[in-house]
Symmetry: C2
């Protein structure tokens, strides 16, 4: 058990990320008390059943009373409303943080509504699975992953350090950068990959010569790797694309340009150029394995046994 | 141990697929004898060290002498040359099969060079990992996967049944279809996903505002799921795109059209259309899990613990 870092942590939003933080904090004793809240009554009652917080509050502003750390873990498009909802309950000097996948637009919204008595440390844990909701969370979700903090005009050095300490205690490594740089980095490492995955899964569903059942049966040929991320939470992702529109459109333009070049290599049967590109991409995979951001088990260690 | 299905199986090409077949056949006793051959001397000597065949031949035509089944497991672009190389050694009535990811173009090439005394059953196991070479193979690779057979004018009913029996004994379910239909189905379920994965990994490597190290660190946000398939064998994939050019270009056209529509939804902030698409793609994921073609473990069961 690590040291207690906070007295009372309030977590607003008990989906995959919020419930994983709650579990991690309680399991590692990082706060004296963890109080949770979710806008959805069914999520609140499920969180109670699961016992992932010490207490589930019945409103956002009561949840945050006396909390020295408030973590808002809702879809990017709901962040502004959540900040408004907690405004009246916040204690003097409370640290407010959030976990959204987009930073610049969210920070602008939050700064407009967050009371002056609180400090604000925007953050983004680079962790997740294709599942959502309070049942999907687990304490180890952030283990060995990165968390990016993007300090803004309402952050203090001390508050950034305290939030960083929490993420480290949850198992993550912490990096700080500007909100704008975060949004470009995430556009290429996360938002565009998701967009493309959503797109290919949609395209495959619409090919009239190929049945849905064939797509599903033969998905082990590559397609299934895309379906995992295309199964991520629809509302969360809608909000990400709407809030990081400029960086996403910029990166999508580059992707499409490169794809057109690749299409041309195939049309003109430029085998040497194809092989050169494919060899280069293989090397990047090795770097990701070496950096500990994926497993080297073949096929992600997917089981190859079956019953018949 | 299953029944012995063949007397002597010759396997030409001892990479991931060939060496996995060899291991599976020996482990399950599906042939009295398994003789292997690979064009690369270093693969032959490694296969000897690994003991994955009963014997490693020093030429393709000696490998296939007296074999009642010959399996050619080489990149699609090398299939024609491999068929020429075995031609003089083939026994009367030998069944020749191969495992290429493209069928129509390969069949045309093979029919032009395969001696009349042999029958030919084109096949394609929908299984693989991002690793290649004789060390990467394992006997369970085909367990719970599909194998597609695409009978042609040189297949007989009995030969198709014997090859199907082999794949079933290796753990696969077998489906037959025409070569042309296979090439369309695989274009969308495998070739385009690989193409897109190669492309996004290439695009990410070239973004000048984002360092390579950032791409690698933050790859858990989605990018790493693409790098696995973008790490697949470069020569194999070069050949796939060159040999299935028409179907790949057709499907790529559809993908790009859909991507342009998605880009427009983002530009015009059509949140409802985005959410509708993302909800639809999530349902397809569920079907793949239910069909047993992927694991429902979050994050493919990737480990979330670490040492620090």
């Amino acid at each position: 058990m690590a040291d207690q870092l906070f007295d009372k942590i309030a977590i607003v939003g008990l989906g995959l990320i919020g419930s994983s933080i709650a579990r991690g904090v309680k399991e590692r004793g990082l706060a004296r008390e963890v109080v949770g809240y979710d806008l959805a009554p069914e999520v609140r009652s499920r969180a109670k059943e699961l016992g992932i917080c010490d207490e589930i509050a019945e409103s956002a502003d009561t949840a945050v009373v006396d909390a020295d750390l408030v973590i808002v873990a809702v879809p990017v498009g709901a962040t502004e409303a959540a900040m408004k909802a907690i405004a009246h309950g916040l204690a003097e000097g409370a640290i407010v943080t959030e976990v959204g996948s987009v930073k610049a637009a969210v920070i602008r919204q939050v700064l407009a509504v967050l009371p002056e008595l609180a400090v604000f440390v925007p953050g983004h844990p680079i962790a997740g699975t294709e599942h959502s909701g309070p049942d999907a969370g687990f304490a180890e979700l952030f283990d060995g992953r990165w968390c990016i903090l993007t300090p803004c005009e309402r952050s203090t050095g001390a508050s950034v350090e305290k939030v960083a300490a929490l993420w480290r205690a949850l198992g993550s490594a912490v990096e700080t950068m500007t909100p704008e740089h975060h949004d470009i980095v995430l556009a290429i490492t996360s938002h565009i990959p998701h967009l493309i995955a959503f797109n290919i899964v949609g395209t495959a569903a619409d090919v009239e010569d190929v049945t849905q059942s064939e797509v599903i049966k033969f998905s082990a040929g590559g397609f299934r790797d895309f379906t995992r991320i295309a199964a991520s939470d629809p509302v969360m992702w809608r909000d990400v694309f709407l809030h990081n529109k400029d960086a996403v459109l910029e990166m999508l333009g580059r992707f499409s340009e490169d794809l057109a070049a690749l299409q041309r290599m195939i049309r003109w049967e430029d085998g040497a150029a194809l092989e050169e590109l494919f060899t280069r991409t293989r090397a990047i995979r090795r770097s990701i394995i070496e950096a500990g951001q994926d497993t080297e088990e073949p096929d992600f260690g997917r089981p190859h046994s079956h019953d018949d």
